[in-house]
Amino acid sequence: MTLWRRRAAIPALHHVQGNVLRPFGYTRGAHLFMHVPDARAGRAWLHQVVGTVTDAVDWPGAKPVAARNVSLTYAGLEALGVDPRVRAALPEAFRAGMAGRAAVLGDDGPCAPERWDAGLGTGAAHVLVSLFADDAPTVEREVDDVRSSASRWGLDVVVDQRTAQLLGAREHFGFSDGFSQPTISGVPSMPGADGVPDRFGRLRPLPLGEFVHGYPDIDSDDPPALPPPFHRNGTFQVWRKLAQDVDAFNAYTARHGDVLGLPAATVAAKMIGRWQDGTPLSLFPSSPGGEEVARDADRTNTFCYGDDPRGERCPLGAHVRRANPRDGLPFGGVMTARHRMIRRGMPYTDGDDRGLVFVAFVADIERQFEFVQQHWCNDGDAFGLGDEPDPIVGRNARLTSQHGKTTLGGAPPRFLSPLAEFVTTRGGEYLLLPSIDALWALADGRSLWRCRSGR
């Protein structure tokens, strides 16, 4: 395996959109999905907006009051009049969209696309403008600005989803979130980021091409390219709205805690793989690591599973162990390395409706996001757990069967059974987050062939 021999590529930060390689770090967001009435209007609107999109260049001083991303669904590329040959050369999963891949993702029953929020998964969402700031008035000003320009060119806002960090950067079940971001070769590492364990247990960065198109990836120094103008400095964005039933989760952990003679917090931690303060069960199997450790992003994220093959410290089927098995699968970290994601999700709270807007950036939707959901979260075979699903986000027939269970480990092992559904997919889209210059090319309506010599 030549994974570790890939030469480090340097990203062209002024072409890559911000928030991909390094998080913006704002505490509030708004996601506006818009419908483009016709190609001419869409390009005119885009021409007006591209200049406001935030790139990935480091901010020299204080961060700006707000930042923006623009991304497009497959239907959006069609609506903007992108050459059919270009569209046909884009990956199948992206072309199908998240709703079209419901069978792969296990989105059925209450998660089926027919039950999604209006505007998602129907082909009506063409363009996504994501706005970020640290206070509500600024977000509102940004939203008004985007709505105003959209209105001028006849674009309809079909989804307006707000997000905001909860106190302590926790998600609605009460757990600290956002750990375990991949370190990327050629990109300064963030605190708490991790790479992929090599056979010596060292954490190594992932190649840039795993997350940004046009650079060496895990498989090749010259991976197959997307068609111009999307061949370089763009990425795919997975946008997924996940509702969380907090009351049901709390009741479930309390009830099963009583049965097993464990505190509810311990049951919840075993389902997640971390304590609520974020400290991992792999390092602190009996009780949370404490405030000092929890504040140290590197300490809470520097651990492996290879020395816990039976899941005695962290259950084999715990959510974070499934989503990033580190060296917990055969051949060290090699099998994990091909399925990492950059995550930029943020909680949403719409009255009693609470949950997470999950956002991931990947170079390959199918190999990265869909693989993790399908094979590691919806099934347990890779971990020796048969068809046990992830107790938090897994979906399969066993989840709702009376025999569904999660193995907590121990000797003798303990189980949570039956399982319950705490997380419901409320909608989602696959988007292409193009480079800044690809956005300009789209806005200009430049032809496929003139873009071929693009940067």
């Binding site: 049965v259 097993l260 048969g386 025999h403 269970k405 092992p413 303990r414 189980f415 059974s417």
Partner: protein
């Protein structure tokens, strides 16, 4: 114990769109057409269009040897899957089961690598999965019992 079946059949360019359509509507998983062909561990069709003239690749891992498997396939594949073979050049539409089997067998190749090596029959594997599920359900339902009570419950469920 298992047999690998691999065959290649030519397809004319004009029939490719129709063949793609026929393949595209076939259900997957346990509803897939090969669920009705006994002894199938794994089977798939792959359309090869970039290596020269288009070819339909069929590969399978089966409990029985190639000829009886191919015959069983001709006999048991549902009509919407039989249509796939009808797109191949020279497919004997009006022929008997034996003649169609011979046509398929004539296009078989001996593979040197296999997708999966399985040392058990489909029946054994299904029984193993069922036993695993029963054991898992038993373990979950009886956790916390004292050893003697656990043993008694185990014997009641699985026999002495």
């Amino acid at each position: 114990m298992t047999t690998r079946v691999t065959l290649l059949a030519a397809v004319t360019e004009q029939r490719l769109p129709s063949l793609r359509g026929a393949l595209g509507v076939l259900p997957l998983g346990s509803d897939g057409p090969f669920a009705s062909v006994p002894g199938t561990h794994y089977a798939r069709w792959v359309l090869l269009t970039r290596l020269g003239p288009p070819l339909l690749l069929f590969s399978a891992v089966t409990d029985v040897s190639a000829r009886p498997y191919l015959q069983s396939m001709v006999e048991n594949l549902p009509p919407e899957a039989q249509v796939v073979w009808e797109h191949c050049d020279g497919w004997p539409h009006q022929a008997s089961v034996e003649e169609k089997t011979a046509w398929l067998e004539a296009r078989c190749y001996r593979p040197h690598l296999t997708f999966a090596t399985v040392e058990a029959t489909v029946q054994d594997i299904v029984a193993g999965i069922d036993a695993r599920r029963r054991l898992g359900a038993f373990a979950a339902a009886n956790q916390g019992l004292e050893p003697a009570a656990l043993q008694k419950a185990f014997r009641a469920e699985f026999g002495p």
